[in-house]
Symmetry: D3
Subunit: 311 residues, 6 copies
């Protein structure tokens, strides 16, 4: 029998045992209200996934995001070892997600092979991801007159950090690992202020400048060579409800941006609308209707249309 | 006598001793202009307070924010130990703040008991804080169709990170520890881009989606089940001065949001106005007047009213 | 000969060697498209530069950003040692940048003295930087009624963090080290959401409140005692092209803010315009034309002018 | 196909791929000579077991070997948490040892329960181990006039470090975990120069002073209140072979020391002999025959007997 | 009330709460038998004292045991800062020892000044300690033909490590801090296998070669230019008891070695005897009587004398 | 001018600047007495060499001393990467040693190629070193009835740790890097109490049991399949002087042990004598003359011969 909790508190006590008990009560009540069971499965870990992303980034760009100063004869060993470590860590995180979602959905425990197959499939996409990021780097280099080299872009630009995370997270999302994908997205969000949902579809040569406050929704579709500035939102419209007033889940509700679109800082683009190719959307514009290719929308124009609506 | 600084500089020198001396002169001049004394007391430490918040978060959610894989028989020991460590660290930080503000206000040195009493009072609020955060988790889960479980919300959503920090900081602010409270707020601000003043009053079931750029001012009052999106500002109006042109301190100058209000991305709500219950404020709206319950304010409407004002 | 890659894959394999080879191919193709050579020089390191900034901050403010609890007799030793370490690290980073840009520009390898001279010149500016930051601290203290002491401002305010980084980065930029300067800027950007280009010119007593989403462009010129709130953009206009349609590089394209200007949250100020002294620009204002001293621009006014333009 | 290994070496190469291949050949040859299989199971980890011992020591002596400054209300939480962590780590190490020895002995894979049962049985012995170590502390305190308190003995004396490791290792050895027990012994050996085989049997109140070079063999039996000085060997005789010239394994081959025996520095006691109670063996004595209770053996006497033998 | 400990154990439990309670009972019983009180004061910390020794060593030999690569202009700042940190840490450890021994001796709580005075007095001896160690380095350099430079000796020789610890510990012992001194001795003992009691008196130019197993007792007195090899014991005789059979404490009971004595490996020298100047004691010699200056004692001679005694 | 050192000491001061100055004076005096110059070159670093040895050990035994749980497809990448890192670190240490000894010997600065050639030559010996260590592991396994597998021997036995260090250090010593070799030896000495000079020559299948206190001198020659126990010394005789009384450097002065010799604990074997093949030297024997093959020397016999000498 533990007896110390019955002891009168001394002047120096925090009443630890009383608070532990109260926290325990809240915790049990909360569990009861939710899953009604005692031992929720482990979740994938933010910290481990940060390591995984760091390892994959190093394998993709060994000289720049990996070990500086590698000699040529050592690069492949470095890449192979780093990849091997990162994939094994990722594999264990995939097991956690699969177990967790089986538990949530009351499915039977997933096999170890199921996780391994996903990790393997993901691994095979890495060269393609590298190629895509190369196009993003080029886009940033060409889009920003201040950039002096691709290396600078890779090391300095928060937009690139966000896009690397997105491109990795997107493949994992596509493989049916939404939780891991989301955690990876949030790692980039915290570091850059750029919030790209891993479900979004984004073409080659994507560039985000400055980036703080950018939000890109789950069903957004972005073509090739699109450029966004800080605080651009590609969001859903306010009331995506069905006839019974329920929120519609998973339906296409975010904008489509065709190739070569540019959207300046602070613009808000909402709903399943299409911004035609080569259009330029001005800063702070509020846009909720499709525009044809080669449009140039300024705030005045969008205000005008709003005024019309408003009267 | 130290003599090396009189030596002629060699080709490799940075002139360290010259710079040290110059920095010393600036430092002393600066001190003279301020407090006119030599030894300012220590401030609470950002790094230690990060540990405290991590420890308290772990004690509140041992399985999710603490040690993954705890078995049932070990949970209470983990919570008790983590709590004990965090509270003792917090207690020492409280001593620093009390000493610092006594020094600033030329009060006499505060007693050790004063700090302990505050730490103890704070500790007693932890179960209530856990209950409040449970309502916030529920709000996020219900408010975001993409959320698949409360666990995901707890681990992934930056809004939840910000709210946990806020709820802890708010209790400390209320106990007369504004500096510690502020540092904790800024830890969340840096990690999430969400800036909630610890003095604000926020009801149950609060949800912030995406969150980057949200600013909530010191005297804001937020009811139950309120939802905010990224870049929403609940601020003060521009010129809160008294008749003599001086800034008015501490007066109620931020908005009141009644229950069930929703404010979409980029909206700016300024001044001691009241947003009536169940109102919905559209994206990018600029709002400086009270609105009745069940209002739906869109940008067009607010522009219209601005136009009116403008003419 | 390594032979294991010819072995049939087992059930547990990730096909590491296949992926390593594919990544190698992409990497070599990418190198070919770019610099056509094998061994790009090392870049300055984000992590090392974080240490440098931490060290310099500690040398500038030993009691607050350095080692808490220093006794008077130990301060100068602490400052001298910290400075010495930070400057030697910085010196090695400067060598990397000089070698890198010589390589990019096909210049001959720079001398070790070239780096040392820059490090030395930078070191000499530190006392002046400290004095400038002192004016920034005063501005924050006086500008925010909530601030209770300069110490609190120094430790808590993200705006101050951003400005310290800026003032260090600006000197390095001026010395011809744009890459190091940029990396330091991005460190502050990631921590605070405030993005100040190191090329910008900023006078005494600069204050940014809240700060998330602030962007200040490369050729912006900011006078003394200017105050900005969150999400303010001081940007370039959309199409700074020459007669042949090429982007104009390096030309003055961002706003000039004269002394004592205040710009409220979310305002966007674009192009080489001049905001006259003591002007106040309201929240969310969109401004692309110069305004005379003592102007007070609100959103309504700016909308009105936009309406005029729009018709 | 990896092709870089066929490239001619450059001036900067170490010929990594050649050496990797050569090391691979040696490794495979070595495996062939031994177990003839590819994937030996993991062994228990020295580093993890160091953590386990540290955790158990902290649980046994929370104030002295755990967290200094614990308040009374926090001690049990600390002990419970520390114990829980250490036992779970130990459990995983036990699984490794059981799997490893099943593999070595070609047994079937052991059950998870088998490990858990051993961990549980071990855990139950901890209070008894604490009591025994208390007697050892008392013995050191009483045996060394220089010792001022039990606390000093616990924190300073290498003999106590060695005995704590021994007492933990001995229980694990008894439970059929010779490899984990041995690794724990070697941790003490490396830290103190004292080498006690975990199979030895040692009574209450054991004290080793200075200790460097002490060796105690597997089948040694040591009574209560025995005291040893540095460089004492309790070893086996030279030729413990059977009639066929084979080494005899596991038979009792080390000395028996009855209660209250004292052995001074450098003495060598070999073979299954019995040192009678209360005997004192002098420094550097070489002893290979039993002596009755209350004997006092000096080097001269032992030399004398050796001389007799030698002639 | 905590209730989980009454729950039946599940298959996965370690019975943590049962063991915690049993350990608590042993702990309380042990406390009762000893000091009969609940809260023993903190002891000085092994880990902190390791830092202190590392810091002091770095201050004594900044280029070799401190920060490699210091430039001349930075050395004094490094030394001053390192010294300041180490002395402040040491000061806090001295406070702990003084409080602890006041508590043990039932004295009144010692003043903060008492600790500071000791720290200050110790600090003043550092230059003298450096000079002494310089003589030790010279002795090693001259005594070992293999040594190529003083730097090598300083960095490689375990004997020098042990002597540096001893010279620091000896001053602290002399200042009335036996516990801190002892812990520092044991740090060297663990790293080198050399056990020098901090109470011993050792002259200039002391050299220990190889060193493992050397033991030097509390009241040993060693002249200038003495050389010892591995496994030499300078100990007390076996029965230093008074007429009532009690151990005599603190009396002079270890050997005196006059200047220029050499003692080879494994020799044992016991009791308050004097080894005359320039004597050479051979390997494995057992010596318990004084010898005149310039003696050369080999094992044969000492055996002979023992034989004589033995007959 | 730094002025604080002229300030009167306050009650809290340690007189840092006074001590810094005094230490500086001692340091300069010491430099003057030695090399008469200001800036001694850097020495190889103990800490870096520990990393190098850890890396090389991991490359030699990837599954046991490297990364547990490697899958087959990952092993070569791990070995290649680990080797590459360790060799590059070693290379930089070799540069330091070469520069240091050029400086000491007043030679001209050595070329970067000189270091690289040595590193490369060393790297080529690694497969042979692995093969030798395999024979040592076999010897330990066969020599100790308690050993259950080669893996246990590799992980547990301090003798193996010492031999791995020796075999690496010996190759480096042979390549003309005595300082690096010595530092590596001392790392093993500190961890195991076994002191093997890197200059010694040791054949296949070498086994040291227990090991504390073993010392093996620079010119010792040890054949195949030799076994030593704790505290064995293979040393030089006392007076290896030439006709002028000077110590003879580098001459063969330590014993030769032919194949299959066994030497029991505590035996001391001194001088350039030869122990014939298959001889067994008993515990504590003192031996200074050669013995023919198949000798069995016990302490009695050696004493007898000493007696003869003594008379």
């Amino acid at each position: 029998m533990m007896t110390h909790q019955t002891t009168a508190l001394t002047n120096e006590d925090f009443d630890i045992s009383g608070i532990v008990q109260a926290l325990r009560d809240v915790r049990l009540t909360s569990l009861e209200h939710r899953h009604r069971k005692n031992k929720p499965p482990k979740l994938p870990s933010r910290k481990v996934l940060q390591n995984v992303v760091d390892g994959l980034s190093a394998a993709l760009f060994p000289n720049r995001l990996g070990a500086p100063g590698l000699k040529e004869e050592g690069v492949d060993y470095y890449v192979g070892f780093t990849l091997d470590s990162a994939l094994r860590e990722l594999n264990s995180q995939i097991q956690l997600e699969l177990r967790y979602s089986a538990d949530t959905d009351h499915d039977k425990t997933p096999s170890v092979e199921a996780a391994l197959n996903k990790a393997r499939a993901f691994a095979q996409t890495l060269p393609k991801i590298r190629q895509l990021i190369d196009t993003d780097l080029n886009a940033a280099f060409e889009g920003d007159p201040a950039a002096r080299s691709l290396d600078e872009v890779l090391v300095c630009y928060p937009g690139i950090t966000a896009i690397i995370h997105y491109r990795l997270a997107h493949e994992l999302h596509t493989l049916g690992l939404p939780l891991i994908a989301r955690i990876i997205s949030e790692l980039a969000h915290s570091a850059t202020g750029i919030d790209i949902h891993p479900g979004a579809t984004i073409g080659e040569g994507f560039f985000i400048d400055h980036g703080t406050g950018v939000v890109i929704g789950e069903t957004a579709v972005i073509g090739h060579h699109v450029r966004l500035y800080q605080a651009v939102t590609l969001g859903a419209k306010r009331f995506p409800t069905d006839e019974h007033g329920h929120l519609i889940k998973g339906s296409a509700r975010h904008p489509i941006l065709e190739d070569d679109v540019v959207i300046y800082a602070g613009a808000t683009v909402l709903g399943r609308i299409t911004i035609g190719a080569r259009s330029v959307i001005g800063g702070n514009v509020w846009l909720t209707r499709s525009v044809p290719p080669d449009s140039q929308i300024t705030q005045a124009q969008s205000q005008a249309s709003i005024q019309a609506t408003a009267t």
